[in-house]
Symmetry: C2
Subunit: 324 residues, 2 copies
């Protein structure tokens, strides 16, 4: 993986993915005591950054292979990205989703044209199911993060951050990224290392699912003890990718851990101050910037707000608890 | 008022106001049976388009006059726009607000540095209060809509719509704009008449506060019977402006009327499908496009989502009623 591959993905994504805005609010700067900039990937097609990697992978695929259809496994955001990218490429998709995925994500994935297969997150191995179905139906598996063209697509977010930061005179900052398997985190880290090396990436994870923070400390891929138990459904991946971890190890600063409650509070603050809708996992980086800013040295923090696919009742709870 | 004045305002606003994105969702297209594009002005500084007009007016003012301070009357969005534009110009502002304005709007206006004076919407005349305070303290009154530089600033939204529509190949459409006093509606209509004449503007108002729709029919400025009684606090202005109405009469198509419930439903759909936060009045145009599309001839509808400054409990109600 190198910057040329990310640049090539960005060219394929041009006019297909949205160039999402970099938002800010004086009220959030005041909460953090720092300048806070928010890359609003919740405004991306399908409501999360995942559309970038999905489009990148499908657009890079050999047309004959793509025409036979693709398969993916995902808690929901990669699912929607693949479903839309497949239908816009005129092909079919099968998506393997955990049975406890938010209803909105399951319904949207179906509505975007995919066939959905549910599995039990606690007792079944999604990799095994995915590989078996792919073989049976001659489908091409598009992994959610451990796949070079997916990492390259997510890296296009980093190219935009570099350009948008430079445009407002920000040359040095910490960049916080909600981290599951590490596709977005490693993609952004690779892009920034090439384009804006003084923008330093830190992964952000929910408490109890901080495998990447622990892996960055130990130097080898650690695994989470639990597979369920956080509202941050998008980023509770058991362990970092084989491909993504070496990039993170080489390029990222220390991981940051936030609580589920921090994420609910950040969702409410994003509602009040930015007028954007974030899902719990998508709010993790903003939560770290707002409520854990003591641990951050930079005067400027760029947070990736990675997704907004949240059920209405979870959002209502966040507003009831922390809304103004 | 002419296009040169709007162009000049847009130059002063460059780098100060956000160029807000034009969003879309295949799910909303399906609801309406048409292509729906949403100009997300809720993502503007202070959470509504009003920052454009406020910045335009303050930046056009003689520096000595501006330094003495400004005064404005507003249900909340113009208030916040003026408060931020004033503090960023290094001057002071006094804002006269109705006592029933959403708490969030009152608090934000204060936090952005303004002095807030409350009045009773049913029994007091805000124009009279504004003019008296301006005279007593030697402040310059910036009216919320009936002021050329404010109309020119709001018109910059129309310049962006023209460019963004052209960029995706949209050359003909109906453009729906939530309408109170008509500053945004007339500004956009003037900009589009010059830059994209096949984009036709229609004002959208809440039922019972449809003075502009009736005025466009009768040919003269009509007034609403009531002054309170809609959740669309931003757009229940008693009558259109003396300056704004002639532009609307010359350039706009028929007005469209929506219910408060339509607006709550559009807020929930914008939450689910676009990941943006809209206030009731800010959702009026989207409501017209989604639930009254039978009355619209064009295949493509551009809706201005004019603001997102809504209290958390109103938003929770919208999600409880219509959320998915």
């Amino acid at each position: 993986m190198n910057i040329e591959r990310i640049n090539a993905a960005a060219i394929r994504l041009s006019g297909k993915a949205r160039r999402t805005p970099l938002l800010s609010s004086p009220f959030l700067d005041e909460v953090a005591g720092k300048r806070i900039l928010i890359k609003a990937e919740c405004l991306q097609h399908t409501g999360s950054f995942k559309f970038r990697g999905a489009w990148s992978a499908l657009s890079a695929m050999h047309p004959a292979m793509r025409a036979r259809g693709v398969i993916a496994f995902s808690s929901g955001n990669h699912a929607q990205g693949i479903a839309l990218a497949a239908s816009r490429h005129g092909t079919t998709s099968v998506i393997i989703m955990p049975s406890d995925a938010p209803e909105l994500k399951v319904n949207n994935t179906k509505a975007l044209g995919a066939e959905v297969v549910l599995y039990d997150r606690a007792t079944e191995d999604r990799d095994e199911i995915g590989e078996r179905l792919a073989a049976e139906r001659n489908l091409t598996l598009v992994k959610p993060f451990d796949e070079p063209e997916v990492i390259a697509g997510q890296g296009s977010t980093g190219l935009e951050i570099a350009a948008q930061a430079a445009n407002i005179g920000v040359t040095s900052a910490q960049v916080l990224v909600p981290c599951g398997g590490g596709g977005l985190t490693s993609g952004i880290a690779l892009a920034l290392a090439a384009k804006a090396p003084a923008l330093k990436v830190h992964p952000v994870e929910p408490a109890g699912f901080d495998d990447v923070a622990r892996s960055l400390k130990s130097g080898r891929r650690e695994t989470n003890a639990a597979t369920t138990g956080s509202i941050c459904d998008a980023i509770i991946t058991p362990t970092a990718g084989q491909l993504t971890f070496p990039h993170m190890k080489r390029l990222c600063g220390a991981g940051i851990v936030v609580s589920d409650d921090d994420c609910l509070r950040a969702m409410a603050d994003a509602f009040t101050r930015l007028k954007i809708v974030l899902e719990p996992g998508g709010a993790a980086a903003l939560a770290a910037a707002l409520y854990h800013s003591n641990s951050l040295e930079s005067d400027t923090i760029i947070c990736v707000a990675s997704g907004g696919n949240v059920d209405a009742d979870v959002f209502r709870d966040a507003l009831q608890k922390y809304g103004k």
